[in-house]
Point group: D2
Chain length 347, copies 4
């Protein structure tokens, strides 16, 4: 069985493992106050082109999302996001458990628009009983989205502009950020994200690390006392250096971008083959996630040797499924998958 | 200016005021442990036809909703309701502030169906990552709904059946329950509600009381330690008898139903006149709330002498608005409104 | 049976009841946006000597406490109070239910000192792992305290000074504030309180109203968006005028102070008699609560005709109990109580 | 500089690192559903002598504490613990952030007694306003405690008995459990803990793992839907196998006990030397934490070459400090420390 069902099936990239091994017996202070964390933060600030960013390393994505949103909002305020947003659909109500409503906006491709945000905020304030509804205060987007789609620079700038005009925070969930930055056609850089967002995170778990997300805060209103909130929500690792070491490995010589480029290139090969056999997509994509729509019997055959994820039923005889590539995906396995696609399509 | 814009513009029905006045200097124990509360609870149990119901008097509707839902759910569980449900749209995220997600279902008329509930619950459990989403555990409905529509007995029985099959609680918000029970064509009784719901409340604030809602609990799993939760959420009145006295007045000789019948009858007169002038409705109704769609210039004229509530814009020249009747609405004012309708319609 | 066991056994002062009755059929806008609330807020601002105070009317004390504290604190911050503070001991964890720790300081008389606050805050910041403990951010005091004791102006000024130096909020719970302001020897005025505290409330429930507390906010950081929080916590009354009307009655011609002076004067008579018979006190007092220590057999006899509250056992043969006076206490009943004291003491 | 200041300064035991390395490229399902987690859970059940225990792997101790307590309590219930308990003093109010009060009991040695629990619970129910205070429902203890002390089997049995009599849960925080189990004089086994507690956890972070705590649940009332709560609180690792692999390494051939025995043995050597030079202790101990009281000038000299933790000032010239040993502490370093003790003591 060859796995394409997600990007977190293996451990971590060998250069990360090597660094963890080499430093294993070193003694460092706890709770993220060690030099590795400091060094990794410095590398990330450099990659973002700004000296004034606060960087905190958290264990996972749900934790990063709930901690950031809890830090940013007062009790009566809520977070705007797509109905399909990870915080709305896949985190067991983690944001609500901190007391805040997620205000879901409809979206077919996982993205929300500046115009949607504007309308939502203006409708709130136009109500003559606005104090009876949750005040929108933060916009949550993920890039790439849960459906693998990407925001263009123009879209991101428009979102940022409406947030600043309306005094909302813009928060970008970058659980798979690397795959977006490295994708063909992407025009957004880390510099742009740091400039346009109030807070975002650079995902490690799904981009070659054992675990860990680097939360980057450019707006001091969110960053104040942030470490208290990390501790309170159980996200402060005693051996915090484990996170610093991993992000140091990812950012000290471009490994993060190398990993992402590898996975995106293999995903492009899969997309080419799917195009070749004429498979449509649930949503078009350029990152490491691919969502083709395929016939049930095709998928049944394919499933004998390949693992993928069910996404949704499209009609009586077709389903959308997901294939993922990662740092650990091999050319050999991609070749095998593409060959099987062609065989099953009768090409 | 004649007010039709809501059902809580005045103080309370004279028989309630009289009882409060007559007992004003009596000394009673605090926090709802007095005899008036006991008596009122007994009268409500009798009206519901069951001796085993727990009855608690709370100050207002939002408080009743958040306290009941917080009492019923474990942290990872959520409440299903219409997108337009009061808990989802008009309570500033009170339910989320207790940590629980409101799972919104689409609805055009304010009601949700047993089939919608079934699909939502089955979809949850069918997911291979169900632990990553909020577990649906309670169904919240209001009757009448926010749009004045009513559940039929068959609809309520179907909802109750699917809740019991799927082990969810059914919670009925009766902020305007009287107006539903007294409406023409209604086939649901208090006995039915007590039998079919796990918990519900009988609204006083909008049906003639100064304030107060009587929470009625038939499922002991929700009722256990309920008074702690009332206290914790700031809903336990030191002079608890104020609530007992009001509900005693409402239920000792049928005043509750008398008030509701009066308001519904006047609303029916308004509906007749609207039918006569050919006004369509946003939603058809039988209770004390009326949602006609009228031309902007008609409403502009009408607004010079009558107060009503804006509901929503329907097209470039028409808006849906709301008229409410109550215990305090007079025949004389209804006559004036109907005459103005006819005049403006050119009849 | 003659009741001295609390100050909320009856309804309300006749001038309040009269105002509620006279205005009962008036139509007003809902949710505290009516003119009576505006007028009452203006009267309270005037009584405090400041035009810039925000005034909000809430239903009860627990609700006022939890709403103010939730409005003031970020998630990792806590409220300092006496171990015996109402928020720590008598509100079913209402503050914790909003996510915040109450940091309890030892106190024998219900009061805490500026020095205690200073030490607590300095200890927090001196810790090398301060982010692992709750950050003290608000000081909660009640005046009079739960034991009927009063802060002097000097004590209050010292607390205020340390709070400002250390950037904490000072919050004064005035559930029985009137009885303190009117007490013999008190040197604190409403002007002082408005000047020294960031937020406080003037209790109505225990000082002649049916219910209601007037929250007065002098620090805009706490007041921002406060109405959202009132609504979210279920404290926004649809018929908000009920609160405005009551506080208008209490403040338009000095009724609030008149009521308090009456109760304090009667309590002084009881204290004189207790002094006369040589009864010691759990804590000395000057307000409407009296905490004498009396022999068990004395109390057994007394309990046949008089109702009082058990406070605590002092030794094998003596208990501290509580007597309360209020606006509704009559000279006749006080005379009867004092006579019984003398009779049982064998005087 | 030689470090004795905590037991989490290094990475992990070499056998753990080896297992992580060897399995790095294996593909496993995510979120703790892999075979390594299943295997580790089985080994832990075996070590506890019971087949019916639920085992969940969480990232850290604060997260384990808050998730277990949130799973166990209804909103109005609280957790009893020592004032010095980790949940009360060192977790930034993580338990309060889930809405629950920590009811602190005084303790000089970090332990609480069955008698204290009994008095607390009985006092609650004896109050005539018990619904106005938080209901005690769970007893939290740590073993070893924050001060390195141990519960005897008799003490643990007494606590368990009072909890069962009063229907409270007993929760044992075993962040350093291994060091307790391996200590000289300890008479408590894993079998006892599983039998006497409703839930406990076996700490990995401080006993040789990179990170991770194994929560063991014997009471199904707490275990129901537990994975939802882990996910909601951000504690579910995508690469969950990292936790399974580490606990498999710790429990497959007794490594956990071997590590603990090593550290305890070295700590005993340090204690012997301290006894030899006549140093008193803040609290006597038998585990890997040692709390001697030493003169300031002694500590100043010692601090030039050795790292330890400040605990508290004892008098004008003496401080209590903490020395920790761990799996990574070497005999050589212990010899150096002991030699320095003797040199400074003038022996």
């Amino acid at each position: 069985m060859i796995y394409f069902h997600n990007d977190y099936s293996e451990g971590c990239h060998e250069r990360i493992l090597k660094k963890l091994t080499q430093t294993n017996l070193e003694q460092t202070p706890g709770y993220g106050t060690d030099n590795y964390c400091a060094e990794a933060a410095m590398l990330i600030r450099k990659a973002c082109g700004r000296e004034d960013l606060a960087v905190h390393f958290l264990v996972g994505g749900t934790q990063a999302n709930l901690t950031v949103i809890d830090a940013a909002l007062r009790p009566h305020q809520g977070a705007i996001g797509a109905v399909s947003a990870h915080i709305n659909a896949h985190e067991t109500g983690a944001v609500e458990a901190t007391g805040h409503k997620v205000i879901g906006l409809p979206s077919l491709d996982g993205k929300i628009t500046a115009e949607q945000v504007r309308r939502t905020v203006e409708a709130h304030w136009a109500s003559d009983s606005f104090e009876h509804t949750v005040q929108p205060k933060l916009v949550y987007i993920s890039n790439p989205t849960e459906l693998g789609t990407l925001y263009s620079l123009a879209e991101l700038e428009a979102l940022s502009a409406v947030c600043r005009e309306k005094r909302l925070y813009l928060f970008l969930d970058g659980a798979r950020l690397g795959y977006g930055l490295a994708a063909k056609g992407n025009d957004v850089t880390l510099h742009d994200i740091a400039r346009l967002c109030d807070v975002f995170y650079i995902g490690g778990t799904k981009v070659g690390a054992l675990f860990g997300e680097a939360v980057v805060i450019s707006n001091p209103a969110i960053g104040e006392d942030f470490r208290y909130l990390v501790k309170q929500h159980g996200g402060m690792l005693a051996k915090g250096r484990l996170l610093g070491l991993q992000f140091q490995a990812l950012f000290e010589d471009g490994l993060y971008f190398e990993i992402a480029a590898h996975a995106d290139e293999l995903a492009d090969q899969i997309r080419s083959t799917l195009d070749e056999i004429g498979a449509p997509y649930l949503v078009p994509g350029v990152t490491n996630q691919i969502f083709p729509i395929l016939p049930d019997n095709f998928l049944e055959e394919l499933g004998k040797n390949f693992m993928f994820t069910e996404q949704e039923r499209v009609d009586a005889h077709h389903r959308a499924v997901r294939f993922c590539t990662s740092w650990a995906t091999t050319q050999e396995n991609v070749d095998a998958l593409c060959a099987e696609f062609r065989r099953l399509a009768g090409n």
